[in-house]
Amino acid sequence: MQHCCIKNLYLHCTKKIVMFRSSYIITAVLLSMTLFYACDKDEPEIPNEEELITTLNYTLSPMNGGADVELSFVDLDGDGGANPLVTNGTLQANQTYEGTLELLNESESPAENITDEVAAEDLEHQFFFQSNASGVSVSYNDQDSEGNPLGVSSILTTGDATSGSLTITLRHEPNKSASGVSQGNISNAGGETDIEVTFTIDVQ
C-alpha cells in the first residue's frame, strides 16, 4: 500500500516541474499530502532467529556409577519476554563426572544444535567453568585443532559435601594463548561473551 502512495507523490513532483503555475503546484502538493495519510504499513516479516541460543544443557555422568545430573538454562523467547528457566542440580561428594555441554536453539522446530556450530569454529571458541564451591573443579576433556581446550567435553570432580555456584561461560574470539587461558583461567581470555549462566550446586 505505501508503495503506491510514494509513486503518487513522485508523479506530482514531476508534474510540478513541468507546470509553473503556483496554484497547480500547491494543489499537487496538497493532494499528495492527503494521499500520505491513507497509507498503512505492510506487516513485517518475522526474522528467522537461527543464531539464537535458547538452551544450555550440562549433563554430568558419574564415572563411578549413579544417575546423570542434568543442569539446564532455558530461555525460549530470547533476551526479553518471560524469565529464563534454570534447573540446578545435586552432585555426589568425592565423585568424578564426565560433563557434556549441549547448546540448542529451541525456537526453531526441530531444535537446532548450536554445539555443532561452536565445535566447527573451535579455534574461535572456548568454554570456561568457575565454581566457588570448595573442592569442585572442572578440567577440559577435549581440544581444538591446535591443541588448545574447547570445553564441550569436560571432567568435573567434587570434594566433600558443600554447596555453591557453578558458572559456565562461552567466549567468542578469546585469546587462547594468553597466560592461564588454556588451563581454564578466564581472566586474560578477552573476547566477547556468547553465554554466561550460573547454576546453584549442592554436593552431598
Binding site: Q2, C5, I6, L9, Y10, C13, K16, I17, F20, S22, I25, I26, V29, S32, M33, F36, Y37, C39, D40, K41, E43, P44, I46, P47, N48, E49, E50, E51, I53, T54, L56, F73, D75, L76, D77, G78, D79, G80, G81, N83, P84, S107, I114, E117, V118, A120, E121, T169, R171, H172, E173, S187, G190, G191, E192, T193, D194, I195, E196, V197
Partner: protein, 790 residues
C-alpha cells in the same frame, strides 16, 4: 600553468557542455589581452560590513594577472596599469572570509567593497536570505574556508570548536552534534533546506552529510525554530550550498589532504558554471582512513571510507520564477573499535579495568571488519521560488530521501557478513511557504511542511529488530511575524504539528506475533523575541520559546540489546509529549572592526523530559546479566552560558576566546542529567602577514597565517557515581598548530596548509565519546593539504 588551466577548462567544457565554440572563444580571449593598452586604473575602498568602518591592511589582487596591493588606513586601494579584460578580484583580510568578485574592466573603475568578519567568531549571521532578514535568534556559522581547511573533519566535528556545540562520538569516525545539550530526536539538521531523515535516534549514528558539499554550516541556538519542522526543541543545524555565482566562466577546485593519524586520504573536487539556460555545480568527495592511533596503541578496526557526490542545478525561468534542484548521495563504511564490541556486563567490567582494549594489534591496517556500519543516504530536492511581487515570495519544495543503514556485529558461523541491523528509510518532504514584506520593516511568513517516513527492517538479519517497522506522517503549519520599529525589533511565531504513527512491532514473547499500534500526536510551539539596539554597536535580544515534542518511535517501542552500550533498551508505549520552555538572552558588542564580544545565557526547562533511565533490575539472559535502561519521563532543566570574544592586535594578530558552560539537572529527582556536555574553554591566536611575499613577477605568496589553538575541556563533575559505569574522565587540554599560505601565480590560486592536532600527544578520554569505556582518544596527528582553485 596558464596553458594547463586553459586546457583543463577546455576539456571540461567539452565534457560538460557541447558548446565547443564558446570554449575556443575563452581560449583565444585570454591570449588576446597581450599587447593591449594597459593603462587602466582601479581604485576603491574596503569597509567592514557590520560596523561600516574602513578596513586597512586588506589584500586586494587580480587573480588573472596577480597584480595587487593593500588597503591603507582609510580603507583605500589603487591598482594601476591594468589591461582591459574580465577579471576576478580577491579581497582578503585577517579574520574575514575572503571575497571574490567578477568585473569587466574597460575603463578606469572605482569600487566599494564590504567584508564581513568570519561569522564563527561573531556569532552574527543572517539566516537563509539577505541581509536585513528580520531574525534575531542567536546563531553561529562555519565558513567554506574552514570546511576546506579541515578535509579530515565530519559535519559534526567541524562544529566542535564553537560555543554551545559539542559532539557525541563513538570512536572517531562516528560523531553527532549536540547543541545546548540536545541531540538526536531533539535537534533538527537541515541539509539544503530538507530535514535530514535517517536513524537520528541512535547515539552512534552520525548525520549522513558531506560537509564539502556545503558552503556554510549554520547553527541556530534559538529558543524555538518555528519555521523548521522535524521536532526540534529550539536548535537547528543548517548546511547550505550557496547559489552558483553569476559569472560566465567555469570555476572549480581540487582539494587533497593526508592525515598521519589513520594514514587518511581525503580528496574533493568541485566544478561550477553559470549560464542563463542552466547553471550547474558538481561536488565529489572520496575519503579513506585506516586504523587511528592513541598516544601509544592502534585503535584496531577504526578505519572509514566515504564516497559522495552532489549535483546542484539552477535556472531562472524569468525574473519571477527561479528553480533549483539538488541531489546528493552519501556512502560510508565506518569501522568500530573491535575491543568496544563486547558481550555482557562481565565483559564490560573487564574492559573498564583493562589498560588497552582487547584485540589491540601492533600493526596498522586499512581493513574494516565487523563490527562496522555501512550507511548510505540519497537525497533529491526540487525547489521553486516564485516572486509574486517585489515583496511577496512563494516557495515550494518537494524532496525525497532514501537512507539505508546496515550494522554488522561479530557473529558465529560466518554470519558476520550478515547485518545485525538493516534498516531502510524512505522519506518524502513537501513544503509550501509564503512570505510578504509589508510596510516598513515588517515581514509575515506562513507555511506548511509535510513529512512521510517509511521505516522498514530487513528480516535478513535473523535478529529481532531494535526499532520496529513504521510509517509516520507529520504535518506542520507555521506563521511568523517580524517587525522593526526604531531600535526595537520583535518576532512572533506559532507552529502546530500533527503526527500520525502506524507501528508494527514484533512481540518479545513466543510465539512471535505482530502487534499494531496507531498514535496521533498534536504539538504546539510558540516564539516571542525582542531585540533592542542599545547603541549602534551594542544590542541585546531576548527570546522565549515554548515547544512540545511527541515521543519518537525509539522512545516508545525500542526493544532489545543495544550492542555498543551492552544494555537492554526498552521503550514505553505510554509516554507523553515532552514540553520545553527555552529563554535566551544575548548581548552583542561590536565597537570596531578590531573587537567583538558576544554573550549568550540560556535556560531550558522541561516537563516530561524523556530519557533513558538505568533500572535497578538486571536482566538475566543466556549471555549473562545485562543492565536494563527504560525510557522514562521526568522534569528537567538545562542552563548554559556561551561567551565569545575576538580582538585584533597590531593588524596582524587576531585573538579569539570561547567559553561554554552547561548544567543539566533532573529537577524531579534532584540529580544531574546524564550525558551532558562538559564545560570548555578555547583560545586561539592567528598571526598573519600583511604583505605578500613576491617570488617573481607573476608569482607570490600571500595570506601566510600561523594559528595556535588551545582547547581545554573541563571534567564533567555534575554527575553521580551511580549514574555511570565509570566516573567521567578528567579534564584535558589540547594544543593545535596550523600554518597556511596562498600561492598565487598566473591567475591560479594554490593554498597549502599543515596542521598538527594534539601537538603534545596528550593522552586523554572525552566524556561524550562512548569509546572512552574502552580506549584513549587520538594521539598526535599531522594533516597537510593542498587546494587548487581556478
Amino acid at each position: 600553468m596558464q596553458v594547463v588551466k586553459q586546457i583543463l577548462r577546455l576539456l571540461l567544457q567539452l565534457m560538460f557542455s557541447r558548446r565547443i565554440l564558446t570554449a575556443t572563444f575563452y581560449f583565444l580571449f585570454t591570449f588576446n589581452c597581450i599587447g593591449q593598452d594597459c593603462t587602466l586604473l582601479i581604485q576603491g575602498t574596503v569597509s567592514d560590513d557590520a560596523s561600516d568602518l574602513p578596513l586597512s591592511y586588506v589584500n586586494v589582487y587580480i587573480q588573472e594577472t596577480s597584480q595587487g596591493t593593500t588597503s591603507d588606513d582609510k580603507g583605500n586601494f589603487v591598482i594601476d596599469n591594468v589591461c582591459p579584460g574580465e577579471y576576478h578580484f580577491i579581497f582578503s583580510h585577517i579574520g574575514c572570509e575572503p571575497k571574490k568578485i567578477h568585473l569587466d574592466i574597460y575603463r578606469d573603475t572605482t569600487i566599494a567593497i564590504g567584508l564581513s568578519h568570519t561569522p564563527t567568531s561573531l556569532g552574527d549571521v543572517v539566516i537563509v536570505g539577505n541581509k536585513g532578514t528580520l531574525n534575531n535568534q542567536p546563531s553561529l556559522s562555519v565558513s567554506r574556508q574552514i570546511i576546506e581547511d579541515n578535509p579530515n573533519q565530519t559535519l559534526s566535528s567541524l562544529l566542535e570548536n564553537e560555543t554551545g556545540v559539542h559532539l557525541i562520538k563513538n570512536g572517531n569516525g562516528i560523531s553527532k552534534p549536540v547543541v545546548h545539550g540536545l541531540y538526536g530526536n531533539r535537534l533538527t539538521i537541515l541539509n539544503n533546506g530538507i530535514a535530514q531523515s535517517g536513524q537520528q535516534w541512535g547515539n552512534d549514528h552520525s548525520p549522513e552529510i558531506d560537509p564539502f558539499a556545503s558552503d556554510k554550516i549554520i547553527v541556530l541556538k534559538g529558543a524555538s525554530a518555528i519555521e523548521f519542522g522535524g521536532g526540534n526543541l529550539g536548535s537547528v543545524i543548517l548546511t547550505e550550498a550557496k547559489r552558483i555565482e553569476q559569472e560566465p566562466h567555469l570555476h572549480g577546485q581540487v582539494n587533497y589532504s593526508y592525515e598521519s593519524n589513520g594514514r587518511g586520504h581525503s580528496f574533493n573536487t568541485r566544478f561550477e558554471k553559470f549560464a542563463p539556460s542552466l547553471s550547474w555545480r558538481i561536488n565529489g568527495t572520496l575519503k579513506k582512513y585506516g586504523d587511528r592511533k592513541t598516544t601509544s596503541y592502534f585503535l584496531n578496526n577504526t578505519g572509514t571510507k566515504e564516497a559522495n557526490i552532489a549535483l546542484q542545478l539552477e535556472k531562472s525561468i524569468n525574473d519571477k520564477i527561479f528553480i533549483d534542484f539538488y541531489a546528493s548521495t552519501f556512502n560510508s563504511e565506518l569501522g568500530i573499535l573491535r575491543g568496544s564490541h563486547i558481550g555482557n556486563l562481565t565483559d564490560l567490567n573487564q574492559a573498564l579495568i583493562s589498560e588497552t582494549p582487547f584485540f589491540t594489534e601492533e600493526h596498522f591496517s586499512y581493513d574494516i571488519d565487523a563490527p562496522k556500519q555501512n550507511v548510505s543516504h540519497h537525497l533529491a530536492k526540487a525547489k521553486l521560488k516564485y516572486f509574486i511581487t517585489d515583496s511577496q515570495l512563494l516557495d515550494v519544495t518537494a524532496a525525497g530521501q532514501l537512507n539505508r543503514r546496515k550494522e554488522f556485529d561479530v557473529r558465529r558461523s560466518g554470519r558476520s557478513d550478515i547485518p545485525s541491523l538493516f534498516l531502510d528509510q524512505t522519506t518524502l518532504n513537501a513544503e509550501v511557504k509564503y512570505s510578504n514584506e509589508f510596510g516598513e520593516n515588517s515581514k509575515f511568513k506562513i507555511g506548511t511542511q509535510n513529512i512521510l517516513t517509511d521505516n522498514t527492517n530487513n528480516a535478513e538479519t535473523g535478529i529481532l529488530p531494535l526499532i520496529p517497522d513504521y510509517i509516520s506522517w507529520k504535518s506542520g503549519f507555521f506563521s511568523t511575524l517580524s517587525k522593526k520599529k526604531n531600535k526595537t525589533q520583535f518576532n512572533l511565531g506559532l507552529r502546530y504539528d500533527f503526527e500520525h504513527q502506524n507501528v508494527l512491532t514484533i512481540s518479545n514473547t513466543t510465539p512471535r506475533e505482530i502487534i499494531k499500534y496507531e498514535n496521533n500526536f498534536h504539538n504546539l510551539s510558540g516564539l516571542l523575541s525582542l531585540k533592542y539596539d542599545i547603541t549602534n554597536t551594542q544590542s541585546i535580544s531576548l527570546n522565549t520559546g515554548y515547544t512540545t515534542r511527541n515521543p519518537g518511535i525509539n522512545e516508545l517501542y525500542s526493544s532489545g540489546l543495544h550492542q555498543g552500550v551492552s544494555g537492554i533498551e526498552e521503550g514505553q508505549i505510554n509516554l507523553k509529549a515532552e514540553k520545553a520552555l527555552k529563554i535566551t538572552l544575548e548581548y552583542k558588542w561590536l565597537p570596531s572592526a578590531d573587537f567583538s564580544f558576544n554573550a549568550l545565557v540560556y535556560n531550558q526547562s522541561f516537563n516530561d523530559y524523556i530519557f533513558l533511565n538505568p533500572q535497578d533490575e538486571v536482566r538475566l539472559t543466556i549471555r549473562g546479566a545485562f543492565p536494563v535502561f527504560k525510557y522514562e519521563q521526568t522534569d528537567a532543566n538545562i542552563f548554559g552560558i556561551d561567551v565569545s570574544t575576538q580582538f585584533t592586535i597590531a593588524h596582524s594578530i587576531i585573538g579569539t576566546l570561547k567559553y561554554s558552560y552547561l548544567k543539566g539537572q533532573d529537577t524531579e529527582n534532584n540529580q544531574p542529567l546524564i550525558f551532558m556536555p562538559p564545560n570548555s574553554l578555547s583560545t586561539s591566536f592567528v598571526y598573519r602577514t600583511n604583505t605578500p611575499l613576491s617570488l617573481s613577477e607573476s608569482a607570490k605568496i600571500d595570506n601566510i597565517e600561523i594559528e595556535l589553538t588551545n582547547r581545554y575541556v573541563f571534567e564533567q563533575k555534575n554527575i553521580l557515581a551511580e549514574q555511570d559505569f565509570v566516573s567521567p574522565p578528567p579534564s584535558y587540554n589540547l594544543i593545535a598548530l596550523k600554518v597556511s599560505a596562498d600561492m598565487i601565480f598566473s591567475g591560479n590560486k594554490l593554498r597549502f596548509f599543515c596542521k598538527v592536532d594534539n601537538l603534545l600527544n596528550t593522552e586523554y578520554r572525552d566524556y561524550l565519546n562512548r569509546q572512552r569505556y574502552f580506549a584513549d582518544d587520538l594521539g598526535i596527528s599531522i594533516v597537510s593539504g593542498v587546494n587548487y582553485k581556478f
